[in-house]
Symmetry: C2
Subunit: 212 residues, 2 copies
Amino acid sequence: MEPADARGVARRSGRRPGNPGTREAVLAAARAAFAERGFDGATIRAIATAAGVDPALVHHYFGNKDKLFLAAVEAPEDPAEFLPEVLAGGNDRLGENVVRMLLKVWDGPARPAALALVRSAVVNEWTAKLLREFLVSQILRRVVGTLGLPAAEREARGSMAASQLIGLVMTRYVLKVEPLASASPESLVAAIGPTVQRYLTGDVDLPAQQKR
Amino acid sequence: MEPADARGVARRSGRRPGNPGTREAVLAAARAAFAERGFDGATIRAIATAAGVDPALVHHYFGNKDKLFLAAVEAPEDPAEFLPEVLAGGNDRLGENVVRMLLKVWDGPARPAALALVRSAVVNEWTAKLLREFLVSQILRRVVGTLGLPAAEREARGSMAASQLIGLVMTRYVLKVEPLASASPESLVAAIGPTVQRYLTGDVDLPAQQKR
């Protein structure tokens, strides 16, 4: 992680780490890998190889795979930082706390960058895959993961919660449908929190595959 | 509505109705008017004036304001055609029937055009206004309008239902989050219908303005 390491890396890979193109090359390789293989399937080793650098340099620049992913999708915020606050109220308040946090981020300075990410995902299949991976690996998995559910149920509940949360973003910030667009955050937490709570922990019919 | 009318119109306006540019000029003027003034604020008279044609010609080409609007936004389907089926189950089945109809349209041949409309709305502020007007004037108003609610409640409930329905479209067809993306329509009706039902007719805290 120190300059000596980075120099060693550079010697081996033939790329100079000080080259401003190196960071961009890693990010480009990361975007391709995460979009093609998903967050779980992509490895720092393969990304480094594709970028022509040593894996240690990727760690040096970006830390872990989560951080590399956040940099690759240009995420305006790191969801991991908000998670303790979302989880602090316990399982019974998860729905309202997720909605509250979503509105806090979107009503804050990150909105333009978040909006840019959503816009890009809607027009670009590749960015759509990245945004989906972001939602699944950085947000839903962490929130739903605290509930101790079997994997299939975890994913079904997560995708339903995602449908309401993404819809809230679209209705309030993209299409601006009133009165939801200018409603107070707390009134939306009260209106929409129970839906997310039901999807996460309530008695719901889980979405099932077409052919079983 | 007959050729004689159209010729009279053409003489007055100085535009020949047979000119293929005329229809496009009306549609362009309609898009601008609906985006700027909304569905209710836009008039066929003003749209005709902006396009340099007689209002009778607009009626001749497009029928009523609803039809002109659908042509202007390039709506793949006319929601009015599906409405009887959605409403047939009565107020208590409105939620599930709206979800069922949404999935039927999106899982059918209209999907590419519907997707193009959503994509355009997300990147273009102007198309976003048109899609919002489409949702509000062509779908929500008609569905929620059957419930006999006061205007403020009608809009609040409509916008909440919109948030779940748009979110379902985004999660299933744009971001393709599994298992929701490949779930059977009926399992989604069962999972998400109750949410839409609650927003339309249930006991919910209605979203309220920021400053009261």
